[in-house]
Symmetry: C2
Subunit: 146 residues, 2 copies
Amino acid sequence: MEDIDRQIVVLLAGDGRMSFTDLARETGLSVSAVHQRVRRLQKRGVIKGYSAVLDHEAVGLPLTAFVSIKPIDPAAPDDAPEKLAHLDEIEACHSVAGEESYILKVRVTSPGALEELLQQIRAAANVSTRTTVVLSTPYEGRPPRL
Amino acid sequence: MEDIDRQIVVLLAGDGRMSFTDLARETGLSVSAVHQRVRRLQKRGVIKGYSAVLDHEAVGLPLTAFVSIKPIDPAAPDDAPEKLAHLDEIEACHSVAGEESYILKVRVTSPGALEELLQQIRAAANVSTRTTVVLSTPYEGRPPRL
DNA sequence: ATCTGCCGGTCGATGTCCTCCACGCCTAGA
DNA sequence: TCTAGGCGTGGAGGACATCGACCGGCAGAT
């Protein structure tokens, strides 16, 4: 990937609604050239999409936690991600190396909702859970350097 | 916050570049009404910004890890987030309850780069680290339910 | 009951931006 | 030298964002 593509990617990672006109000005290219590069980046999957970044407190999900899960029966087939996908409170699911097999990032409205969610997770995927609640997040979703 | 604002928020969380025309069609409002609601959501900070979601492999950062940090001197002032902010490989920093004090999400190019980053983290914040490398991420950054 | 603000909506006009197409410039290979 | 392909520019059209003017309903005060 070329240097100018990297530049476009970091610009769009920083401001996903930046106009093609502005992108062109920043990169020194014409609008059309930028446009076709962005389309190519999307087609190649480098840019997977665009998203609004929310204030989770303002949106009514003030409690964030990381939930590490470990299968109760280690011999059972490991399809926890699919079994948990229907739980909208789960924002992300990472398969990890180490003691536990997955780390889930969850957002809920209250401690009570967290308790209920943990029960659902254990029941749906037949796992034990270890949860770490986040107290505050100084920063999150920062754009990469490249 | 009203129902229609929630709807706008989830639509924009799912597609951050959706046009106001499409938003208006989805919500049943006029373009102007949607426009003014979105501006209000931004002014109130409910929508903090927009971002392109990237394929981190394609962008040259194929290795993701969670780094839990714990101060070596518990009596020292706790300003780890500021001391670590200059490290661009750190995508997120959460203050957490539990054994460790922060969880960092980091993205690097290689295991070697991870090793180097860990040294920088330890040196910059005077902490010990415990890192969990992610093997794959089935999903990430899903829009909330509300 | 009427008046008065205000919030939130529609409508319409204007300027900007997106999007596509035709063309030109390099470079590589036969 | 010819040719093909990748990548850029420029322009034209239509779609879109943005703003102002106007309108209707609701609440509180007179």
